[in-house]
């Protein structure tokens, strides 16, 4: 069985790269190839220019924050954090200094003597991070480290992780299936599916102009509408058209829900009329499902404040033709 196929990934030093994909896409396997827990059938892993492909995990200059932290229950917080240093044969004073430094970095000052089983999930997460960083790895690997935390703690940890990464100036490879997490934290995101990297780029490019349908669909909400292209004009199923540079005859239009609005924009635009099938109020906006004759359901996000949309009412939404993105692929 092939878990990964033709994957090529290059990190700049001090870069925060996220491997994003649905479960079973191979993102954790890729991480384990870097840390040395999976062997490659073909290809190479290089760290800082040196091949580590044949090097066992314990000799690689990378450390991992494991999904369930894998803290050593029979050791204190201090011994957990100091483990790498103890193994490397440092003297006690050095270890003690470095441990308190690390605990300060993750906001657990003075917790040295605690037993790890007395800690909350968030604290364990921080100990795992401190432990992985104590040995000064060239690269830190994080395997869905935030998935066990509740939402508030998660967002706090996202910001802290990012801050720590900037402070230390080392590369982070972060694995997650949470697209929001990936978008907020990463310098670049590699979208993985079926053991291949579908696209790798900075978050805004991935979100605004995805290269393929998988990325468009996986990142954020999207309306994917088929278009026919002829003579630099892309036409939708209902006859509306807009100018494009795409050379294919068939393509797919990506229309993000937030691109649609109630106000009629100046200049060329696309309009969608239909009946409101469902609405959800989420505080800052309304999520609307519009039932249209030509395209079936179209999803839109309308700022709240205006009159609340009602289910069953007729509605026309507009999108300026300027920011439209075409994907050179045909949806099935």
């Amino acid at each position: 069985m092939t878990a990964l196929d033709g994957v090529s990934l290059k990190l700049a030093s001090a870069e925060f790269v996220t491997l994003l994909g649905p479960s079973g896409c191979g993102k954790t396997t890729l991480l384990r190839c870097i840390s040395g827990f999976e062997t490659l059938d073909a290809g190479d892993v290089l760290i800082d220019g040196a091949a580590v492909t044949q090097m066992p995990a314990h000799r690689r200059p990378v450390n991992t924050v494991f999904q369930r932290y894998a803290l050593f229950n029979h050791m204190s917080v201090a011994r957990n954090v100091g483990y790498a240093l103890e193994i490397a044969g440092n003297d006690k004073a050095t270890i003690r200094t470095r441990v308190s430094e690390m605990l300060e970095l993750v906001g657990l000052e003075g917790m040295e003597k605690r037993s790890v089983s007395q800690l909350s999930g968030g604290q364990q997460q921080r100990v795992a991070l401190a432990r992985a960083l104590a040995g000064k790895p060239k690269l830190l690997l994080l395997d869905e480290p935030l998935s066990a935390l509740d939402k508030n703690l998660r967002q706090k940890m996202q910001q802290e992780l990012k801050a720590i990464q900037r402070e230390l100036g080392i590369g982070f490879v972060f694995v997650t299936h949470d697209q929001e997490e990936a978008l907020t934290m990463s310098d670049r995101i590699a979208v993985l599916a079926h053991g291949r990297i579908q696209q790798i780029d900075v978050p805004s490019v991935l979100y605004e102009s995805p290269a393929n349908l998988f990325t468009a669909d996986f990142l954020g909400e999207s309306n994917l509408l088929p278009v026919a292209i002829d003579g630099g004009q892309a036409s939708l199923a209902d006859g509306q058209s807009f100018a494009t540079t795409c050379a294919s005859r068939q393509a797919t239009l990506l229309l993000r829900p937030e691109a649609l609005g109630l106000a009629k924009p100046e200049g060329p635009k696309l309009s969608f009329s239909g009946r409101i099938a469902e609405t959800y109020y989420s505080g800052k906006d309304h999520q609307i499902t519009l039932e249209t004759a030509a395209f079936g359901t179209v999803r839109a996000l309308i700022r709240s404040g205006a009159t609340a949309p009602e289910v069953g009412a007729d509605l026309t939404l507009h999108a300026p033709a300027s920011g439209l993105h075409l994907i050179d692929e045909v949806a099935e």
């Binding site: 066992p56 314990h58 450390n63 494991f66 050593f72 790498a84 193994i87 992985a132």
Partner: protein
């Protein structure tokens, strides 16, 4: 009504299991020398006899086995149990580690192979071992008892340690390796502390079973190597004498203490 019947059933069930054992304990304090089934008064005589105190020689006690023989049997049993349990613990743990942590062909088959000695009839194992030792020309001695018992006690340790290993997520060992520990360091600092309660439990189990084993030991002991169970068996053949009850009670106490210590250490470890 049904509840009462059920309670009664529960009560009878435990009476059925524990009454014979409690009877032996009670009889060991019975002063009646002729018929132990009839209570004639409380005495420590049988315990005194075991520990070599002089008691009045009567008809019924004139053929009492000497305490020296009993002590020799206990010493043999302890020597055998200690050697066998340590031997079984080392090899059983090594096997459990290999089967649980290494990927190799037929791992499942080897796991089953390790279970078989536990369900093998003692008598078959006893005969097989006896024939084996004779075939290779090994004289029956305390050594053959140790080897013989080890063949199936390794399985008991294997099972207890395997259960513990199954609970010990491999991510702990991976975390250790990830932080730079060599396989040997990982074993010492992470794996061993993690499975220590299992090893300890397996060792105590092996010790208790070894102390208690009669059938297999009987086949491979030869003459002059009397373990405690063989000694008791020998005594029984000349009639059930009251001090057997006392010996049995002491063995029971010993086993309960060992098992209790095991359980205590286990509960302390997992906290």
């Amino acid at each position: 009504m049904l509840r009462r019947l059920l309670s009664l059933y529960g009560l009878l069930f435990f009476v059925f299991i524990y009454a014979p054992i409690l009877l032996v304990v009670a009889y060991s304090f019975n002063a009646n020398t002729l018929n132990m089934m009839v209570w004639s008064g409380f005495t420590f005589d049988w315990y005194r006899q075991i520990f070599g105190y002089e008691t009045a020689i009567t008809d019924s006690t004139s053929y009492v086995d000497s305490s020296a023989q009993l002590y020799a049997a206990i010493r043999t049993s302890l020597t055998v149990a200690l050697s066998t349990s340590v031997f079984a613990s080392v090899f059983g743990t090594a096997l459990a580690l290999a089967v649980a942590r290494f990927r190799f062909r037929l791992a499942g088959f080897y796991r089953t192979l390790m279970m078989v000695p536990m369900i093998m009839p003692d008598i078959v194992l006893g005969i097989a071992l006896l024939i084996f030792f004779i075939t290779i020309g090994m004289n029956l001695s305390i050594m053959t008892i140790i080897i013989g018992q080890s063949t199936f006690l390794i399985s008991y340790v294997f099972v207890t340690v395997s259960a513990r290993l199954a609970d010990l997520d491999t991510s702990f060992e991976e975390a250790s390796a990830d932080l730079g520990a060599t396989p040997m360091q990982t074993f010492r600092k992470v794996t061993l502390p993690g499975i220590a309660p299992g090893i300890l439990g397996g060792w105590l189990l092996a010790f208790i079973i070894s102390m208690d084993d009669l059938v297999i030991t009987y086949f491979v002991a030869g003459t002059g190597n009397t373990t405690l169970p063989i000694h008791i068996w020998g005594m029984l053949r000349r009639g059930i004498k009251p001090e057997i009850n006392a010996i049995a009670t002491l063995m029971l106490l010993f086993t309960i203490v060992i098992a209790g210590v095991g359980l205590y250490l286990r509960s302390r470890r997992t906290k």
